[in-house]
Subunit: 257 residues, 2 copies
């Protein structure tokens, strides 16, 4: 029997499961808030075109407005100045969109410290336990932040000193970009960088180093708790916006039971 | 070795290929044009939020406006009045989004007759050759129309008598909705119905019967010529818009060589 037929049978039989890693998209979807003088992006809005009425007696449809970087979304290299000569979101090779995923879980640490940063040694510890990160993988960083996604205030966690959400240290971001054979990093937070990363040197190191190295970002993921540390197959599905710096994306995973 | 590890190895080795069935999304994406008094949908537009400038020194991003039913997109049951008590696009079960695909190729017939309609007998002929359509499949209807997608005029093919693009007959749409165990139909044209289907009885039979039966539509697909008649695994990835009647979607297929 062909491999794909075996996969179809396993999907029907339940020994391979499809997990939805995408946050629902709506007017309540939290959006990053940058301080002045920076411009901010459009949150999700919709307008009815017709709803079984004079403007369309049998059909209902909406027009949408939203930023490329709203909700569960994909960061392409050209999103950052360091990647400006790199790929736009429509140019990302499809084999980077169907690729293995590894999951590093620091949800306990992030519950204690919302400013938790992933360090090189955490990934080295993971590799000691699970073996080397396979070439061409996505690294998914579980922080428990998806539990806050229904409450934009708790999700962005802003106080007078800034936004307190977990991220990646400068050293670790540089190492992931230059030394680890991942295609990108996926997170549960509003962006791949920590809430306070605007004050790091360089600012926003995940964006600066990974996108500069032609790697990708993936944000506002849900249900990472349902994935094993290794062995899941990730399906990353941004819209192929020509010249786009990113895109809202559907993200699914196949997991074998 | 686990099945997913075999799949990862086959993807790396090239014996399983990822095919992108999505049309690029841009200001040139053709959009359906309904006659008065019906309202029409917003075509794709974008606005720069910042581009490595004062509004965002290190980053480039856009805001987007577009209809739910623009470009390669998904029709959910609530898009049509017959399916108004059915699922919105965010409620579609994920196992319907990763499912087998069968392809029926009538590109030769459509080149001769742009008003070509798929009939019950065409699908019965396909089944005589290839066996029954597997339960839970997507039926993909190849018409050759993707070759026109770069030219909105040729793609919509409007003259004084209306839009001349292929579709599905009333009888066949009813039969696909009620008798054939597919989850949905995918097409290369601007919508799942023929260009002239507004004058059919009932109007827009693919929408009326399939969405009314809780099935789905998928439009403006590309590269169906690269799929076998059966054996491909389809990955359909609309955005999970809460209450959405549809969504622009990324659509990929896995094909075994
Ligand atoms: Mn982003
Ligand atoms: Mn539609």
């Amino acid at each position: 029997m062909s491999l794909l037929q075996q996969l179809v049978d396993s999907l029907s039989g339940g020994s391979v499961e499809v997990i939805d890693l995408t946050s629902p998209l709506s007017e309540n979807t939290p959006v990053i808030q940058l301080p002045p003088p920076f411009a901010n992006t459009q949150s999700f809005t919709r307008r009815v075109v017709s709803r079984y009425d004079d403007k369309g007696p049998a059909w209902f449809w909406h027009d949408l407005s939203l930023g490329e970087h709203v909700g569960t979304h994909f960061d392409a290299p050209i999103h950052w100045i360091t990647g400006k000569d790199g790929l736009d979101v429509s140019q990302v090779p499809v084999h980077h969109l169907v690729a293995p995923a590894v999951v590093i879980d620091k949800s306990k640490e992030c519950a204690e410290n919302p400013d938790f940063l992933l360090e090189v040694e955490h990934i080295q510890q993971w590799q000691q336990e699970h073996g080397p990160i396979p070439r061409g993988s996505w690294l998914l960083f579980r922080t428990g932040w998806d539990a806050r996604a229904g409450d934009p205030k708790a999700f962005l966690n802003v106080d007078e000193s800034g936004s307190h959400t977990p991220g990646v240290s400068v050293e670790c971001a540089k190492w992931l970009a230059e030394e680890v054979p991942i295609v990108g990093i996926g997170v549960e937070t509003v962006g791949t960088d920590a809430g306070l990363a605007g004050s790091f040197d360089p600012p926003f190191p995940c964006h600066a180093f990974l996108l500069g190295a032609g790697k990708y970002g993936l944000t506002q993921l849900a249900n990472l708790s349902k994935l094993p540390p290794k062995g899941a197959l990730l399906i990353v599905a941004p819209l192929p916006i020509v010249g786009g710096t990113g895109s809202p994306a559907r993200v699914l995973a196949l997991v074998e039971r």
